[in-house]
């Protein structure tokens, strides 16, 4: 049976990097805290042949249950009891990182401390004596560089050694002062006597969690034995009152102070020495003085965002045109090679004109992801979160919500699903719910092709600037919606937030390429699987049941009449035009008569307000499955309605020539797509994370209603001002 090794530590200490190095996996790594919000497992084989399961736990600052990811980490350690815990610490911030280590020691887990980022510590003039630290804490301490894998063989050898020893858990007892110690002793006795949850926890640790106000443990205790729980709560209340009266403090603060005191006493014993003055500004701090400056910071942030969009749209223009040309060429050739019929129609209108429209944006997505990877890997994205925190507080959100917004597409190109998951770092349920319900307003990667198509078609001269404004609009609307929610259904106090700023790191070219490719490949894979399948189904819905016999006969009769009249006087060219017009009318009629066409037409009774025709309506319904489907559906709808094989231009050209379309309609559609119901997967995630389908349904109704209102305002306002042409 393989041994189990858990990787645990503070956020952004390098757990996932080490996990990837050890298992060969490619879990996402970011230079900001909170990338991992759930545990992941991978396999590792030791050189001696033994097997291990490596479990990557979410980053956590403490083992007291405040947020979901802290519960995930703690529950795993306590309930699953891994053979070894590798505690990854950031050597350049050792004191803060060892705070969690003391809690592992108090729990008694068999532990190894991995001193990661020793290069950063050395650059900062910090010298560490790993052996001395190991002697004092009585656990192995191994310096490593998770990024390069340096020190990992020694680390894993120590882990194997510790696992094979199979020593029982040996909790460390720290003194918390007379008052708390006495309370702990009384509570531990009470727990032991009653056998209160002792099958899962040690009595002293359980008592400590009661004193720290761990809500999850208290809830479990209440369910397990209400009488003992009440007894423990009484002791907690008594010691709390006493501490408040004597020192104007509370047990949790005393416990934290004593843990830091214990750590200081350890570190002072020649474990750590600073070569430079401790108040010397590190390179990261110096850069931050400019980049996070109260006035300059936001301006630089906006400049970076605009620069990113300029870079993306400028450099992706040519490769996007090449791919469009390729799909036009492919469609043209297939059209001449294949016999007329449903198969030809499906391949050309459903697959090439549908899915091809989405794949055409691969270069744009790639450039955007490359730019985002630079911001993320360098550590600048964490600064964006830091600066946005001030703004978020005004809107009743928590600083931790910023990263959820950014991951969801705060800089166009994210995904709402990991954004929803990232909201797990929030401790207040109401702030978390407000974040869950508003992250989908961000411009995710799936909305990007729709926005790119419409901006390129109707605002080609100012594409980057418009995208920049749309990003600001997304943030503005999401924050306003959050404020409305926090003032109404999710009213409640805001919780304090401390943002940890990781050091700036120079991104490696290989790292940037890997990050760019990982995300681009996800986009291509989705287009080639889910989007393709949906495109084919939508094609079928746009093709069947077809025209009734009577209408078929009506068009056949019209053709015969046109041919008969041309025999007498008209020229051949005029006949061709007449027949083409009849073909187009028949195709249009057939499309309207199809299943999807009927749905789209029925929706026109309300969709005229924001200026959407029946084709757009079908696309928007399809967009609930995945937002990219809007592009594929429009591609298919216009392709099926087109009967002239020589007129197979791109979708952008078709839309530009269609009299129904103009910049105001395009802008109304952009606004609607940005804010209407989240895609199906996001709705499922919101429901799962909030624990109720009610909130998933709420996000569909609230977002769609709001988007409809906004799009109507844009369209009707634009028309009233005479911009609709």
């Amino acid at each position: 049976m393989p041994i189990t090794i858990a990787l645990a530590g503070n956020p952004n200490a390098g757990k996932t990097t080490l996990f990837n190095t050890l298992t060969g996996a490619r879990q996402h790594v970011g230079n900001y805290p909170g990338v991992t919000v759930e545990k992941k497992a991978g396999a590792y084989i030791f050189p001696s042949g033994e097997e291990a399961t490596i479990v990557d736990l979410p980053g956590t600052y403490s083992l007291t249950a405040y947020s979901v990811e802290e519960v995930v980490a703690r529950d795993y350690l306590v309930q699953e009891k891994p053979d070894v815990v590798i505690n990854i610490t950031d050597a350049s911030n050792l004191e803060r990182n060892l705070y969690l280590s003391t809690q592992f020691l108090e729990l008694g887990v068999p532990m190894i401390i991995a001193l990661n980022m020793i290069d950063v510590a050395q650059d900062r003039g910090i010298t560490l004596d790993a052996q001395r630290l190991a002697d004092l804490l009585k656990v192995p301490v191994i310096p490593i560089l998770a990024r390069s894998g340096k020190g990992t063989p020694e680390l894993m050898a120590a882990a194997l050694d510790l696992a094979q020893k199979n020593t029982p858990w040996n909790p460390l007892h720290i003194s918390y002062g007379e008052d708390v110690d006495l309370a702990l002793q009384t509570m531990a006795q009470c727990i032991t006597t009653a056998g209160f949850m002792t099958d899962s926890y040690t009595p002293r640790w359980l008592a400590l969690k009661y004193l720290e106000g761990d809500s999850q443990i208290q809830e479990k205790g209440r369910k397990n034995n209400p009488a003992v729980n009440a007894q423990l709560q009484e002791i907690v209340a008594k010691v709390g009152e006493h501490l408040h009266q004597t020192m104007e403090t509370y047990p949790e603060a005393i416990i934290a102070d004593h843990r830091y005191g214990y750590l200081k006493s350890v570190l002072r014993q020649e474990v750590i020495s600073h070569k430079f003055d401790t108040d010397r500004l590190h390179a990261s701090d110096r850069i931050d003085k400019v980049l996070t400056n109260r006035f300059l910071g936001p301006l630089i942030m906006l400049g970076v965002l605009l620069g990113l969009y300029k870079f993306t749209f400028t450099y992706s223009e040519l490769p996007v045109a090449w791919i469009e040309t390729f799909f036009n060429w492919l469609g043209g050739n297939l059209s001449t090679l294949l016999p007329d019929g449903h198969l030809k129609s499906m391949l050309i209108s459903g697959v090439i004109d549908g899915m091809g429209g989405v794949l055409g944006f691969v270069p744009l997505i790639m450039f955007m992801f490359f730019g985002i990877a630079i911001l993320e890997d360098s550590g600048y994205l964490a600064r964006v979160a830091f600066m946005m925190d001030r703004v978020f507080r005004i809107f009743g959100l928590h600083g931790s919500s910023v990263m959820a917004y950014i991951v969801s597409g705060g800089i166009a190109g994210g995904c709402a699903v990991p954004g929803v998951m990232a909201a797990r770092t929030l401790r207040s349920p109401r702030e978390r719910l407000a974040t869950l319900l508003t992250v989908s307003f961000m411009n995710c990667g799936a909305k990007l092709p729709v926005l790119a198509l419409l901006t390129a078609t109707f605002f080609s001269n100012n594409q980057a600037q418009l995208m920049f404004l749309l990003t600001l609009l997304a943030w503005g609307v999401a924050l306003t919606a959050a404020k409305v929610l926090r003032l109404t259904v999710l009213r409640g106090e805001s919780t304090p937030f401390v943002m940890e700023l990781p050091p700036y790191r120079f991104p490696t070219f290989r790292g940037l390429l890997i990050h760019t490719w990982e995300r681009t490949w996800q986009y291509i894979k989705k287009a080639g699987t889910t989007i393709l399948a949906i495109s084919i189904l939508i094609w079928a819905m746009m093709t069947f049941p077809g025209l009734p016999q009577s209408e078929e006969e009506f068009f056949a009769q019209q053709r015969q009449e046109a041919i008969a009249s041309s025999d007498q006087a008209t020229e051949a060219l005029s006949l061709k035009e007449k027949l083409a017009a009849i073909d187009t009318a028949q195709a249009g009629s057939s499309l309207r008569h199809s299943l999807a066409g009927r749905v789209g037409t029925a929706m026109e009774s309300v969709s005229w307000l924001p200026g959407f025709d029946w084709r757009t309506n079908i696309a928007l319904v399809g967009g609930f499955a995945a937002k990219e489907v809007i592009v594929t559906t429009l591609g298919t709808a216009y392709s099926l309605g087109e009967t002239d094989p020589e007129a197979n231009g791109s979708l952008a050209e078709t839309l530009a020539q269609d009299p129904h379309w103009n910049p105001v309609v395009a802008l109304a559609l952009i606004v609607f797509v940005m804010f209407y119901a989240p895609c199906f997967v996001t709705v499922v995630c919101i429901s799962r994370e909030s624990g109720s389908w009610k909130w998933g349904l709420f996000s569909i109704c609230f977002n769609t209603g709001f988007a409809f209102l906004l799009a109507t305002l844009v369209y009707q306002g634009g028309r009233a001002l005479g911009f609709a042409g």
């Binding site: 298992t23 060969g24 996996a25 490619r26 879990q27 996402h28 759930e38 545990k39 992941k40 497992a41 991978g42 396999a43 399961t53 979901v68 519960v71 995930v72 529950d75 019929g341 449903h342 198969l343 499906m346 995904c415 699903v417 990991p418 998951m421 797990r424 349920p429 109401r430 978390r432 719910l433 995710c444 799936a446 990982e518 995300r519 996800q522 986009y523 894979k525 989705k526 699987t529 889910t530 393709l532 399948a533 949906i534 084919i536 189904l537 079928a540 499955a625 995945a626 199906f680 997967v681 996001t682 499922v684 995630c685 799962r688 994370e689 909030s690 624990g691 109720s692 009610k694 909130w695």
Partner: protein, 59 residues
Amino acid sequence: MWQNILILLIIAACMFFLGRRIRRQLGGSKTGCGCSCSGCDNPSAKTKNCETKTTQPLH
């Protein structure tokens, strides 16, 4: 005739594929775990699973 049969088979395959995806999403993702809209970001032969913790209702 053969074209219609082929089309029917393709549509059935698409419906099966999407139905399976929806079932997995609703069933609490034992494989995809909803790491992004297109499933887990980082599929690796060595990555065993990606377990999603069931959360308590927020309200």
